[in-house]
């Protein structure tokens, strides 16, 4: 048998695998519980002892996306037969659908603001990081320190001035306002992380491209960017997770048109008691975009997490 000293033995791999999977399952339990709850009926969701096996139902999702009103049994009997599964679920509770809820709009706001600010942070961060990494900039170290210093206190500490400024500037409760705010918070992280990644890309590659007949910008675009993909992907995930999950500013600065999902989800309260399946459904859907984004960039992220320590 051939074996390599750097490659762990199959038993070591087996032990490591078991540990990792066990740990993953334990940390996943709360998430799984939320997802399971989202497919329960309201009575199942609060039954005691908790139900692990149950008849799945889409009631939570229907309640999440609709507003409903209670009607009298006579009225219910006089209605034409239900047109779709949602109507059917609602009528079983002696109610009819009155209209769509605000969840769709709030979710869309989260998508616009989360991805918008991530894109802007990465775009500006990459250009700034490249400049810091490659050009002789006067006071570069001081500037970098200044950029980092914006993160030396929790951003919410300046919530009141921002609130007042935003009201003055008409940015309160606007998509643009939230995108700018999250970008401002994220950009220092983006510049620092990306500078580290770009520093690790040897200059010779760009120099070769310059000699091969490309301009500096083309060299940046064709040679540096593809190699910084790892760093850009992992930075983008960090930025998105912050913007996506941000709660305090969202509560403070948005209430209507630009309200994001995090402040909205807790307000989903059912008629007569907390509607846990609807809240769980909201939380589950809320998790999905970040999960999909992370899975899409997983290949890059796995390398990125080691912060460029891997062989090029």
């Amino acid at each position: 048998m051939s074996y390599s000293i750097t490659e762990p033995s199959s038993r070591q791999k087996w032990v490591a695998g078991t540990l990792v999977i066990t740990y993953a399952i334990i940390t996943m339990i709360p998430l799984l519980w939320i997802m399971m709850t989202s497919f329960k009926t309201p009575p199942d969701s609060i039954s005691y002892p908790p139900k692990v096996f149950y008849e799945p139902s889409l009631e939570g999702y229907v309640n999440l996306f609709t507003t409903r009103t209670r009607v009298s049994p006579e009225k219910l009997a006089s209605l034409p037969p239900p047109e779709n599964f949602a109507e059917e679920i609602v009528r079983n509770r002696d109610m009819v659908i009155a209209g769509p809820s605000k969840f769709g709009g709030r979710f869309l706001n989260s998508v616009i603001i989360g991805f918008g600010s991530t894109f802007l942070s990465i775009f500006l961060g990459t250009l700034a990081a490249y400049a810091f990494s490659r050009f002789k900039i006067p006071f570069a170290d001081d500037l970098l320190f200044f950029i980092l210093s914006t993160r030396m206190m929790p951003p919410i500490a300046v919530a009141i001035p921002i609130f007042l400024m935003y009201r003055q500037l008409g940015l309160s409760d606007t998509h643009l306002g939230m995108i700018l705010l999250y970008t401002a918070v994220n950009i220092s992280l983006a510049v620092w992380l990306l500078k580290g990644f770009i520093d690790e890309i040897p200059r010779e590659y760009e120099e070769a491209a310059l000699i091969d007949g490309y301009t500096r910008f083309q060299a940046f675009y064709k040679v540096v960017l593809p190699q910084a993909a790892t760093g850009i992907a992992s930075t983008a995930i960090f930025c998105l997770i912050f913007a996506w999950n941000e709660y305090a500013f969202a509560v403070l600065l948005t209430s209507g048109t630009a309200q994001t999902a995090p402040p909205f989800i807790p307000t989903i309260i059912g008629v007569g008691g907390l509607d846990w399946p609807a809240i769980a459904a909201g939380a589950t859907l809320f998790l999905l975009p970040v999960m999909i984004f992370t899975v899409m960039l997983r290949k890059h992220l796995l390398r990125g997490i080691t912060f460029g320590a891997v062989r090029k």
Binding site: L210, I211, P226, Q227
Partner: protein, 335 residues
Amino acid sequence: MAEVILEQLCKSFGREQAVIDMSMKIDNGSFVVLLGPTGAGKTTTLRLISGLETLDSGTVRIDGRVVNTETPAQRDVAMVFQQYSLYPHLTVRNNLAFPLRSPILKTPKAEIDRKVAEVAGILHISNKLDNRATELSGGEMQRVSIGRALVRDPAIFLMDEPLSSLDARLRADLRIELKRIQSELGSTLLYVTHDQIEAMTMATHVGVLQDGKLVQFGTPREIYENPGSIYVAGRLGLPRINILPADLFSSTRGRAANIGLRPEHVEYGTGQEASVKRVEHLGDQTRLHLDLKGHAITVLSPHGNPYAAGTTVKIQPVNPLCFDESGNRITETNP
């Protein structure tokens, strides 16, 4: 293909002067080899010509035009880097095609395919074209990096030790190929190497650098037979030239302080007695390491090596090179 003229180039990095007052004329179609120990400024010279480094003072002319303010792309030079910097995210094929696809060349696709296949054939990497650049051995990377220059037809090729990490056989093959391509296309080439054979066989001219200065420029034969100083004499010749005090042998003359003894300057059987310390059989030649009054001398043994370690041999210099105290050459016409 172009003539390149360097006029009094100077470049320093902080207090370190990397290139000092360098002037050189690289004729159209010539193959110029730069020799010098590590840190002599060879790479810096190439980078100044290519425009990757800005000049402190001096002028670079390519084809008569002053290119000091031009970008590397505008200068139309091709360069093989000392650390072969292939684009790691591209395949070998795309690495080779990269210069051809530049906005300056904008080569048609069919032409790109033809060029890439041709160059890959010359460099024996046709079977690796679809590998990622990172999935190659060091020698293969180096060949791809040469290929990335060869697909072009630039004003001048700049090559920084392009054959250094190849095995002896491949190096010999590529040496001949490079020379053939250069003379067929009539390209102008500036080439850095530490390899004696490359310098002697490929160069039309050799420039010897010492601490950032060009100390001698001439044909390989001139540099070998007529070095201007001990330093230059030491750059070519295997085994290296032996530098000995002039009074070691009685037959010395004039103000020479040292004599330089290449193996061919030694006659056996007469003169001073030296003891044979070690005998090295290199296959095609046999080297004798001698000791003469405490001075180590390395020479080539005559055919059929009659000497063994521990014996003594008489040697006598024949027309050695003479140098004064500061290491400069003293020629016979000017004793």
